[in-house]
Structure formats: C-alpha cells, structure tokens
Amino acid sequence: MSWERDGHVWISPQTGARWVPTIGLEVHAQLSTKTKLFCGCEVSFGAPPNTHTCPVCTGQPGALPVLNEAVLELAVRAALALGADVARETHFDRKNYFYCDLPKNFQTSQYDHPFCSGGGIELSSGVFVRLNRIHMEEDAGKTMHTEAGSLVDLNRAGVPLIESVTEADLSSPEDAYEYLTRFREILQFAGVSTADMEKGELRCDVNVSVRPEGEEGLRTKVEVKNLNSFRHVQSSLEHEIPRQVAAYEAEGAGAVVQETRLWDPDREETRTMRVKEGESDYRYFPCPDLPELHLTEELIESQRALLPELPKERRARYQSELGLSEYDAGVLTGSRATADYFEEAAERSGDPKATANWVSNELLRALGAGEVKAASLAELSFRPSDLSLVIQKAASGELHSKGARELVRECLRTGEGVEETIQSLGLDEVIDDSQLEAWCEEALEANPRVRDEVLAGNAKALGACIGPVMKASGGKADPKRITEVLKGLIEGSS
C-alpha cells in the first residue's frame, strides 16, 4: 500500500489521518589514528583475526589503559568542525554490560561529562539539526555467529570512536540521508575520519517515533540498528514510520513499545531485536584507570588552526568566486580529495570552469567506472599540474578538444606523463593545410550532396564529411579546422 506524503506529513491510506515522524540519529565514526584508543596495537582493517591485540584490548587482568593523544586531538577537531563547545574538563566512564565482543565486560565510554556538547548541521531546507553531544568511546570486537558457536575477533576492540547524538530535529527519511551525507563530508574534510561505511568506519542508529499532526509531546521511540549504508537509513525509515502508524491505528495507544529493531534490507522490514536495557542497567561510573583530562586552550587552538575550509563554505565560494553552477560545486566538494585536486588544477590552469568540466566529466567518470585503480583523485598519477597543462594546451590551440580528451584518457590508462603521451599518440604531429585540403576534397567528392545542402543553407550537412577526414588523419586533425577548410572549399567553388 502506498503512502501519500504532504511535506513531512504521512497520510494513512487506511484512515486518511495525518501523522508526523520525529527522528534522531546516533552516529559512530572511527577516528583516523594509527593505534587504538588505549593501547599501542595498530588499527587495521581486514587483518587476520586477533593479530592486532594485546593484554589491554583483550581485557587481561591487571592491564592498564593509556590514552592515545591523537584521539583527543582528532575528537577536538571534529567538535570544532561541527560547531560544538569543547568542555575544559572531561573523563572516561565505564559502561557495564556483558557480551562476548566486549572482553572487559565494560565499554570505556563517556557518560555525564562528554568532551563536547552542542553544535549541529544545517540542512538545505534551512532546518538546523542540533547535536546534543559527542563523546569518545572504544569499539567492541567483531562477532561471527556459526552453528558451532560465536567466534570473536578482537582486532577492532579498542579502536577509537566518537559517538554523536542529534536532537530529534529530523522529520523525514530524506532529512536523515542528507544529515548523514553532510556529517560524513565534514569529518572527511576535517581529516578526522575517513568514514568509509563499507569498512564500518561510520555506523548509524536511528531513533524514530510518530504522532498525529498537532499532538503535543512525543510518543514512544523505537531504535533501529543494522543500518550499513545511508540508503538503508532512508529505506528503514520509509518502512518503520508506516509500521508505527499502522500499529497505532490498529491497536491504539501503547501499540508501539520502546525497543530495538533490526533492519533487514532483504525483506525490507524492521523486526524486534530486544526490549532495550534501561540506562541504570549499565551502571556507569568513572573509570578509575584513566585520570581526568583537561582540554587546554593550546590543544583547542592548535586543532582550530588545522581546520580546513569546510565543504559548505567551499561550495559557496566555488559559485560566488569561480562562477561554477550549484551542481558542479556540489560534485567537486563530494570529497576532500576531489575538492583539493580541483582547486590546485584550477589555480594552475587559471580556468576554473574548464577545470571543473575536466574533473567531473573525465576524472571522476573514469574513477566511478573503475577505469583507473584509485580510491580517490588523490591517488591518481595524473596530477593537477598535468591536468592544467592539458587545459592550457587546449586553450592555446596546441591540442584540439577531441585530442585533449584522448590524451587524458590515455594518461589515466597508462600512468605516463602528458608530454610522453602526446608523442606516443602522435598528437604533436602537425597536419599541413594542403594535406587537410586534399582529404576534405576527397570527402566532398565522395558525398556530393553535402555541397548542395550546405549551399542551400544547411550547415549541419558538413558533419557527414568531418568523420571521413578525421579518419583519414588518424584522429589527429582538429574538427574545428576541418569545418573551416570544408566551408572554404564549398564557398570557393560556388
């Protein structure tokens, strides 16, 4: 059954009643450190099981944790990038619960004195999504459930995370998707986290409740987990919101219970995982092994100095100063690597618009199509200086547009430099006009109708002759020059 929507209001197909969802997000992001939060074990992805563990992160008796200073730095930088207030004093707490992926039987986290509070992200609709808090905590291990039992890999145990919790300021699945996109790009631009969801570096839980439009106060919220992509977040909400409405309409108040539900992307439904443990069950208390922390002005200011221009500001500048469209500005700030690459090439070439076209039409296209083996533009052997060289050569007429494109594709394919590739493709060979004229005459003779059609006013008819001349020149002739020569021949003969 399809649900009609009117802005943020969902209209029940059963009753025609109008319902409003209220959504909050909890996002865990892995900080980009070399080592774990409290021990010198390397942070690794995809390493053989339990090869990055030690007495601290496996919770051996008597092992003592020592805080990684890089975690504090990155956490503070994240807070500043998100506009949050950094606390001057903070400490770690123990969150006690028993599960096989948690070797110490407590998670070292932060409870009533998180290292920062406030801040938030503005969505394109103008809605400001407030952050309630961000705190530091350690990750748990990875569990694989088999017939023989659960198998635990503790490589991930103790990896540093920041958990951010929004206020319930979101009111649609699309809002949630946009918030996550903005959140991830801010962390990436700030260099705080690579936030790769496929590697589990960014994880999101959703809290959602619904209420009839106009009703005061919020109804029972449900937590949805197992959301491995931003799309899953959006789809799970598109299913969970109608589920709650249908439950209220069928069974009345009390039909929705406070619980944790798992999103099943294959069946496209959420289902009960467990009724949530109350907060008091976690018996939080300050971790006696970790001394109190003072976040000094020096630390905060040193991190503020490292903050780059963030994506939102860059998008605005690309439009106002470089004259790019909103769409292009959006594409070019899709990642820090793309934006940095673009800016360097644009600066060198002096032509931001041409640079924007090359980056989005050729480089990002090749990356997306898997034609080059690189995770981002930062890894390309074809550097911004190479691109600006091609742009300059095209502008000066040294290369025609088709040749320039062929050149860039060949450079990406082979990893060779621009000048070498120009030579190997023969793009530096000069085609003299008498040769070009000879090919053009041949083409006109082979297509006698072209001459008549052009003389009758249909300039487009020339197209039929350009292809054969390009072919005769081995692709080296400039299509613009061919057009000129053809026109000259036709007009001269009339």
């Binding site: 080592t35 004195h113 659960s150 001394p291």
Partner: protein, 90 residues
C-alpha cells in the same frame, strides 16, 4: 540479586541466590563506611593524583595471537569461541 546476576549473564539457582545474597549485603555494608565521611565542601572528582596522562600515537606491536588465544576457554580458526550469542550486542 537476581537482577544483578541476569545483567552479568549468570544463571544462578535459587540456592545459590539465597547463599550469595547475605554475602553481597555484607560487601555493600563495608562501603557504607565511606558515606560516613564528612565531605562538606569537597568537590567531586573522577580521579585522584594523576591527570592528563597520554601516550603518542605510535604502534607498539601486538602480541602473538596464539599466546592470548591459549588463555581462552576455546579457540577456533584463530577466533575466541564462545557459546552462540545472537542479538545482544550494543
């Protein structure tokens, strides 16, 4: 007693509960001594003595996994093997 045991995933019999309850009470009794202290004007703190202890973000090398896994009750394919536990993770 029962709730504490449940949170710790301990399956205690009624007899065990009955025996442990007074023991737990007497442990808690010891801590009551703390509440008799006069803390008027003393600010709360999370730690005493040390402050701001950190280490540089430099890998120190991990342990041979076999050494650690050898201490586990059961091991399988270089993993810690535990009774099947589905659906309780945080």
């Amino acid at each position: 007693m029962r709730e504490t045991a449940d949170l710790a995933r301990l399956d205690l019999s009624d007899e065990e509960c009955a025996r442990l309850e007074p023991e737990l009470d007497s442990i808690l009794e010891h801590f009551k001594a703390l509440s008799e202290l006069d803390l008027e004007g003393v600010e709360g703190t999370a730690s005493v003595g040390l402050q701001d202890v950190t280490r540089p973000d430099v890998p120190q090398g991990s342990m041979d996994p076999e050494t650690l896994l050898a201490r586990a009750p059961r091991e399988r394919d270089s993993h810690y093997q535990v009774p099947r536990a589905v659906g309780g993770s945080e």
